[in-house]
């Protein structure tokens, strides 16, 4: 999108490891990406590919046993760049950023709210913490946000408890809570997976509209290729803790280059298109990120693997055209040819 603008967040070579009895689990192994203001980056992958751990590392809310390495450079309000990983996860500076400048929407709205407090109360908590100390002003801001996310009867809803909300409404309230401080980066971790299609569509449109209004950047994490196509400007496909392909949504969907991306695209039926007799399916299952063999993580399941090359070293991201990069040896040849 806006190339001239400085990225809000730059993730550089992020590693997350978990020590276990059996050895060290490495669910995230060198992930790098940038997000600019007003842009939506879709992080796509199957379960266990490390996408959620990546987002939690940015928020600094990973479990204690997880160890993060690398750099997460966040550009604050005043243009100063902070490495979020260097901050104490329980310290004051990160708490000032978390919730205010970076906020997050979770998959299960039912779990994200405490059943003991009213919805208004819980959204208000955020404003009171970060924006204003004045109770009246804070409530006004909260109500305005609730209206903005399409909660009808906001004044009445303000005093209701989570169990009085439907799933879709609760997800709206969650978005209101995430956006009430006008964050510069919104992390949406499978925000619509638990919702029905009609409500999912409403929520996605709401997010797009609010993004336009507030100019925030969105990191959109999902396994659903349909919602990504609808929401995202750029897409990064993750497999086994690494980004295997990245580019604009169009590049990824129309000209997937990495065999995994191609397999992924082939395994979903595009609704409304000509019926194929069979779907393309990737053989085997995602291996556990424990004691990994050298070479490409996708080697065992790949139908374009080259023995002697692919099983020797992990391929780097090779850039093809514009922003389109893929981590596959087949793309290296092309890059060289260029």
């Amino acid at each position: 999108m806006s190339e001239q603008q400085e990225p809000i967040i730059q993730v550089r070579d992020l590693h997350v490891s978990i020590k276990m009895d059996e050895g060290t689990l490495t669910p995230v192994r060198g992930v790098s990406f940038d997000i600019r203001p007003g842009e939506t980056l879709g992080l796509v992958g199957e379960s266990g590919c490390g996408k959620s751990l990546t987002s939690k590392a940015i928020m600094g809310i990973n479990e204690k046993k997880c160890h993060s390495d690398g750099e997460i450079l966040f550009r604050g309000d005043g243009g100063q760049v902070i490495d979020l990983l260097k901050l104490d996860p329980r310290g004051k500076p990160i708490r000032a950023i978390r919730g205010k400048q970076i906020s997050m929407i979770f998959q299960e709205p039912m779990v994200a709210f405490s059943p003991m407090y009213t919805i208004g109360n819980q959204i208000n908590e955020c404003t009171m913490l970060h924006i204003t100390r004045d109770k009246k002003e804070s409530k006004a801001i909260t109500l305005e946000m609730m209206k903005k996310v399409g909660i009808a009867n906001a004044e009445k809803r303000y005093d209701q408890y989570p169990h009085e909300f439907s799933g879709g409404m609760l997800q709206r309230a969650l978005i209101a809570m995430a956006l009430v401080c006008k964050p510069r980066l919104l992390i949406a971790d499978e925000p619509t997976t638990a919702l029905d299609v009609t409500i999912q569509a409403q929520i996605l449109e709401l997010m797009q509209q609010l993004q336009k209004e507030l100019g925030m950047a969105i990191l959109f994490i999902t396994h659903d290729l349909g919602t990504v196509a609808k929401m995202c400007d750029r897409v990064a496909v993750m497999y086994l803790g690494r980004i295997v392909e990245t580019g604009t949504a169009r590049e990824i969907y129309k000209y997937p280059r990495h065999p995994y991306t191609r397999g992924l695209m082939g395994s979903v039926h595009k609704i409304g298109s000509r019926k194929l007799d069979r779907l393309y399916s990737i053989e085997g299952t995602v291996p556990l990120a424990l004691n990994l063999k050298p070479g490409c993580g996708f080697y065992d399941r790949c139908d374009a693997r080259v023995e002697g090359t692919c099983d020797q070293a992990e391929p780097d991201l090779y850039c093809l055209e514009g922003t389109h990069c893929a981590a596959c040896v087949h793309c290296r040849k092309e890059e060289k040819a260029k």
Partner: protein, 362 residues
């Protein structure tokens, strides 16, 4: 449209009732749950026919009663009203919901189920071989052990399980493999009809494709009939010959997949289709907004259950409950099904391609 589908479409134009190859006739099924004095109608008066070798997709949003319907059909729970007429291999037709003991023993095994959650549907305390063999042992207690084992290995091979791993416990398997085990268990009694309740929803995309392909292959090989219940419209579109759309416990539309997806006749189907995100960044469909939320099934609206949210609603809709009627080769429950011109997916792929190339040139 492939040749096979055209054939299926032609067949449906013949008068279907009483036809020989109808294997399952679901008629006027209702299910009510009563808890604490409140009666909730989970399924209301649902009827449709299933032909041998077909796949019927049932779609709808959560709480629409599709799972309850599936469970009523396999008799996992008892329906409050209605019949399921099942034509067995011997040509006789049984009322599956009211079988006597002898028939029960004979016919029960013909209709089986594949479950949604590959984790909770396998007993973690049994080895895979025992799980798959359990239905055999229950139905043929006198079958010698060697034969049971032979049959299990045969079926395990069929669903693509590595037979050397059969002595393992389920915790050794991934979600996709577990779903294969569940499929093997459903298949071992050689059933005719299988109800798949969200059978691939809990799986990752690439694994989903594996299981869908497996189900399709098995269908061809064993002449299976599927009732495929799912909230995922693109999966249903891919696998089903016919699709039924449910809303608040009622079947609102039932017809050939492509027909229904390209030219829906019920406003709810139209809205549902417009909300599906398509895995193609070039396709931007304008969503048809739905007002309000799904009403409480304990207290459904008067007349047409959908009228409060329908943009074509007229005064008649609030008064009268529309009955399923045949319109344009399919069943629709809408008073204005004949008049409305609703929008679906544009199946003309060539036109789409042309549009795209034109856009690219620009």
């Amino acid at each position: 449209m492939s040749g096979k589908e055209t054939a299926a479409a032609n067949e449906s134009k013949k008068p279907s009732p009483g036809e020989k190859d109808v294997i399952l006739r679901v008629s006027h099924i209702s299910k009510r749950f009563t808890s604490k004095g409140v009666c909730v109608r989970a399924v209301t008066d649902v009827s449709f026919d299933v032909k041998k070798g077909e796949t019927i997709g049932i779609v709808g949003e959560s709480g629409c009663g599709k799972t309850t319907l599936g469970r009523c059909v396999v008799r996992a729970i008892e329906a409050s009203e209605g019949d399921v007429l099942y034509t067995a291999r011997d040509g006789r037709t049984y009322d599956f919901l009211r079988l006597n003991k002898a028939d029960m023993k004979k016919v029960r095994k013909d209709i089986q189920m594949i479950f949604q959650d590959p984790y909770s549907s396998l007993d973690p305390r049994m080895t895979v071989i025992d799980i798959i063999a359990e239905p055999l042992r229950a139905n043929y207690p006198k079958m010698p052990k060697a034969e049971v084992e032979k049959k299990v290995i045969e079926i395990a091979k069929k669903v693509g399980l590595n037979t050397t791993y059969l002595k393992r416990y389920p915790h050794a398997f991934s979600g996709g493999q577990r779903q294969r085990i569940g499929t093997a268990r459903a298949l071992i009694l050689n059933p005719q009809v299988i109800v798949c309740d969200e059978a691939v929803s809990a799986l990752d995309v690439s694994i989903q494709a594996q299981i869908i392909n497996l189900l399709k292959d098995l269908q061809k090989e064993l002449e299976l009939t599927y009732i495929f219940i799912s909230h995922d419209l693109s999966v249903v579109e891919h696998i089903s010959d016919k699709v039924g759309v449910m809303y608040l416990g009622r079947l609102v539309e039932f017809g050939e997949t492509e027909q229904l997806f390209s030219r829906p006749r019920h406003p709810y189907t139209e809205a549902l289709l417009s909300a599906v995100p398509v895995a193609d960044p070039d396709i931007r469909i304008e969503r048809i907004p739905l007002q309000g939320e799904i009403p409480n099934p304990a207290n459904p609206p008067s007349g047409c259950y959908f009228h409060e949210r329908c943009r074509y609603c007229q005064e008649k809709c609030a008064r009268e409950v529309p009955q399923l009627q045949e319109v344009d080769g399919r069943m629709v429950a809408c008073h204005f099904a004949e008049e409305l011109r609703l929008r679906g997916f544009d199946y003309d792929q060539d036109a789409i391609d042309k549009k795209k190339t034109a856009a690219e040139k620009e």
